[in-house]
Amino acid sequence: MEKIIKAEKIKKAFRTEELETWALNGVDFEVSKGEFVAIMGPSGCGKSTLLNILGLLDNPSEGCYWLNGTDVASFTEEHRTDLRKGVIGFVFQSFNLIDDLNVYENIELPLLYMGIPKKERKERVEAAMQRMDITHRSKHFPQQLSGGQQQRVAIARAVVASPEIILADEPTGNLDSKNGIEVMELLRRLNSEGTTIVMVTHSQRDASYADRIVNLFDGEVTVETKNI
């Protein structure tokens, strides 16, 4: 199967004046197109760091990273931004919606930066809201929504540009079980429609939605399990 993500010997160090911490220590990681992969591990094992590197938010200190066959490890920030647009969508545990923008405006944001015309933006935002069942909340601001609703807005924002990959960092971490299940169902539905999903989670239940589980410990991949 075609590899959409391929990372080899990825290392990431965080340096302060006194200390050098290796968050990732030679991670090899691959994801096939249309796959749903869950990354698990204890706190501080490097899950989020790996996800940030996969999402082109950060550069690895060492190692190679191919996204859709392009080596992106040494790309500049501007280059990474361009590559990320419309290819990768993000969903975070703390939703990361902009407080000053309403639901519609939050979802519209990636399309704005992609330079999509207004009419098309409107169609795509409305479609995304409908898909996430939040159309009735379009004029509301994030702080007026429940956690589940906020996460649905975040997912709508992640999918509105029809990205090939969605990177989700503990998407249910701040939600109750009912809302958590709803979010996971949404992600599974997106995956079944062809979107590749890489999800960081602590939850076995959430991980059970994935095709494959990768376990990280102290910055290294320890076990890989396939869900049947």
Partner: protein
């Protein structure tokens, strides 16, 4: 608990060190400017409506009559005071040491300082409010010269009439031979631009320049006039009745305008500082919602939150106040260093209380202002809070707009004023080189035995050439204008000077015509501009008639256009008029004498030779100033340079405050909006998008402010300068506008670029991880 609040406030302020310093500094600058200008303007105005009470006949009021008026009183008038005319022909000696010093004195009524608001008066008298019959006040500089010490309080000074000249002065004789005890010393005594060296109590027969008083509350000048008419006033000398009238003292339009502009300007700078200060405090408050929520969870009430903010405001304002004391001291020292005579000297002890009052007012305003966000926090619904946050941006934008307006106003006014073309104006001495100016000695207004000294100087072998005129120096020519008649047409002309026609040869001013001797009767010279104006009617016959009916022959036409440095000139009975040219009257009398020293003679030798002749007729204790024409020119240019310099400083300060304020706002934005920027970057925002996100709101506010303020200012400026001979073209207004628009924008861009670049380059992963 209070200690906890103070501790938290200090920590919070230290957390945002840079913003705290910038806000405190902006506030300090506002307090300094407001304190200084507020004090200066206060000194210009008295604390009440001043009325003058002259005799209806136009005769002067004697001091005895003044005392009679005070004794009887006038209904509706209080705080009477008076002073007499200048006494320039007095000599003095100290403590029976009969070394004579020439002095300039002013006689004042006993109640002068008690009833007349004079900021320096209270200092002069060291807490007392009047001087006794045998007491005088002396300027420190004169005290040092005569007594060799700064505070000769208690020592005596004997006044004499000017016995060196044979001029029998009526005014000075009252003081001659009388000894006075020195009651107080002051730095300088200035009144209406004149420096007085001594204040002396008025003599009963002395003439009051004017009788002054203040209107009591609730009285009009008309009621006072009625009250005056109801009393029978009789002369102290001959018992003859006389009438009086009360006249309300009004400052002229230009004076009011300049004072209003100064106050407005200082208030705008103060408002800028205050806005920046409040913006910082409130923005800090909004960025601490989590902490405030936690505090509320832990039992804090709104009073506690208020105290938290109030302590921050108090600490910052205290720092600002002390900073403003330092900046004021530095400003006063700087103005002293520049020796700028814009306002009379203003001591720090007068400025500090104004600053303190302003700071207290700012504290009260701030306390009221911080009450608002706390009340809103308590009553807030989620949606309401969000909507208010958006409105808050509008308010913030308005405040930033106001700050921009200050910078635009100050710079535009400066630029417009500098670019305004003055009426064509030539200077008398501009044909002479710098070297030639250095070789001309100038003697002005000498009175002591001048008639004996003058011929000796003219005969000195080192003197190559000399001339004289009535004007005090080159720039002060054309102090007034004259209405001329050419047949039945009238025209106004500036009077350049009265003097010897050799003046033109001396100053290399080409004259088309004949040079007549100085004692030739009824001859004038006119400049080319006036000549052309006279020719227009076709009736000009080589003579001009003055308003008083005297006819003058025009002996020649001066090729250069010689006129005043300012544009409108006041002609008694005609108001401010614009003039067609200028005129020089031939006269044997002079006030200023010019001596060209022969080449090869050192100027030091020339000075010595001049002084030698002087001291044959005046005591050594007389200081004789014989500057060169170049020194006079440099002095005059220095004043112009200083005025421009000061205008630049004021404009620079306002711009500095605005730039610092904008920098502080952007910097605080960069700190508080990191998460938003990170989210935007995660969602595809490039550096350019982030740049636009920061720049567009500021650029919009700036552009809107500019489009509102600059045209209004330009219209105002044109209306103010219209009709006084100053002109500025529409093209120049546009050019200056464009220059200021892009100039201020570029300056702000340069200063804030580092911060914007930093926020553009933030690592979103880092920010999200921190969150």
């Amino acid at each position: 608990m209070l200690i906890h609040y103070i501790k938290m406030a200090v920590r919070q302020l230290l957390k945002y060190k840079f913003h705290t310093i910038v806000s405190a500094l902006c506030m300090a600058v506002g307090l300094t400017i407001n304190g200084y200008i507020g004090t200066a303007v206060k000194c210009q105005f008295t604390d009440g409506t001043l009325v003058s009470i002259p005799k209806r006949s136009g005769e002067t009021t004697t001091y005895a009559e003044y005392k009679d008026i005070v004794d009887k009183g006038i209904e509706g008038v209080c705080r009477f005071h008076t002073h007499d005319y200048t006494h320039e022909k007095l000599l003095a000696y100290s403590d029976n040491v009969e070394e004579l010093y020439p002095i300039r004195a002013r006689g004042i009524s006993n109640d002068f300082f008690r009833n007349h608001y004079d900021p320096r008066g209270s200092l002069v008298l060291s807490g007392r409010d009047s001087i006794g019959e045998d007491e005088i006040l002396i300027a420190r500089q004169l005290a040092e010269r005569i007594f060799g010490e700064k505070d000769p309080i208690g020592r005596t000074l004997t006044l004499l009439n000017d016995t060196l000249s044979n001029d029998d002065s009526r005014k000075e004789k009252f003081y001659s031979g009388k000894s006075y005890r020195i009651a107080g010393v002051c730095e300088n005594i200035y009144t209406n631009g004149h420096q007085w060296q001594i204040y002396v109590p008025m003599h009963d027969k002395g003439e009051c320049a004017m009788v002054y008083g203040y209107l009591k509350d609730g009285y009009s000048v008309n009621e006072v006039r009625k009250a005056i008419d109801e009393v029978e006033w009789r002369s102290a000398d001959d018992g003859k009745p006389y009438g009086m009238i009360a006249i309300q003292q009004n400052y002229d339009r230009d004076f009011w305008l300049s004072m209003v502009l100064l106050v407005l300007f200082s208030l705008l700078i103060f408002a800028t500082g205050l806005i920046n200060f409040m913006k910082f405090v409130i923005q800090m408050f909004y960025s601490r919602q989590r902490e405030l929520a936690l505090r509320k969870c832990l039992g804090s009430n709104n009073r506690g939150l208020y105290m938290l903010l109030a302590n921050e405001v108090f600490i910052m304002l205290t720092v600002s106040f002390f900073l403003s004391c330092i900046t004021s001291e530095l400003s006063v020292m700087y103005l002293d260093f520049l020796n700028v005579d814009i306002f009379d000297e203003i001591p720090m002890r007068m400025i500090i209380p104004v600053q303190l009052h302003t700071a207290i007012m700012a504290f009260i305003v701030s306390l009221a202002a911080i009450f608002l966000p706390i009340m809103k926090l308590r009553r807030a619904s989620m949606r309401g809070a969000l909507m208010r946050h958006r409105q808050g941006n509008k308010m913030r934008n308005f405040m930033i707009g106001l700050q921009f307006a200050v910078a635009i106003i100050s710079f535009s006014f400066l630029a417009l004023a500098l670019q305004t073309e003055k009426a064509e104006c030539g200077r008398h001495e501009e044909q002479l080189s710098e070297e030639e100016l250095e070789r001309i000695l100038v003697i002005s207004n000498l009175q002591h035995n001048w008639e004996q000294i003058r011929p000796l100087l003219e005969k000195l072998p080192i003197v190559e050439e000399f001339t004289y005129s009535s004007n005090e120096n080159m720039r002060k020519s054309a102090l007034n204008a004259q209405k001329l008649y050419v047949n039945n047409d009238s025209i106004y002309a500036d009077i350049i000077a009265y003097g010897d026609p050799s003046y033109f040869k001396f100053f290399k001013l080409p004259v088309d015509g004949k040079i007549v001797p100085p004692d030739a009767n009824n001859y004038v010279y006119i400049d080319r501009k006036l000549h052309q104006a006279l020719l227009v009617g076709g009736t000009y016959d080589g003579t001009v008639e003055m308003e008083n009916g005297l006819k003058y022959s025009v002996a020649g036409v001066i090729d250069k256009v010689l006129t005043r440095d300012w544009d409108n000139v006041y002609v008694s009975g005609h108001g401010y008029v614009s003039t067609a040219g200028s005129i020089f009257f031939v006269s044997p009398l002079g006030l200023t004498f010019y001596y060209r020293i022969k080449d090869g003679v050192s100027m030091k030798e020339a000075h010595k030779a001049f002084e030698k002749e002087f001291y044959k007729f005046v005591p050594k204790t007389f200081e004789i100033e014989i500057p060169t024409l170049k020194e006079i020119n440099d002095d005059l240019n220095t004043v112009n340079r200083m005025m421009k310099h000061l205008a630049y400083i004021m404009a620079f300060i306002s711009l500095l405050v605005v730039v610092l304020s904008i920098y502080s706002t952007i910097s605080l934005d960069a700190t508080t909006k990191q998460k938003e920027i990170a989210i935007r970057k995660i969602n595809g925002a490039r550096k350019g998008d982030i740049l636009r996100r920061f720049v567009v709101p500021y650029a919009t506010v700036y552009s809107v402010t500019f489009l509102i303020v600059y045209p209004l200012l330009a219209c105002f400026y044109i209306s103010v300068t219209n009709g006084n001979g100053r002109m500025i073209s529409t093209g120049m207004i546009f050019a200056i506008g464009a220059m200021i628009y892009f100039g201020i924008m570029a300056l702000i861009a340069v200063v804030t670029w580092h911060k914007i670049k930093m926020i553009m380059g933030i690592n979103p992963a880092e920010v999200i991880r921190r969150e």
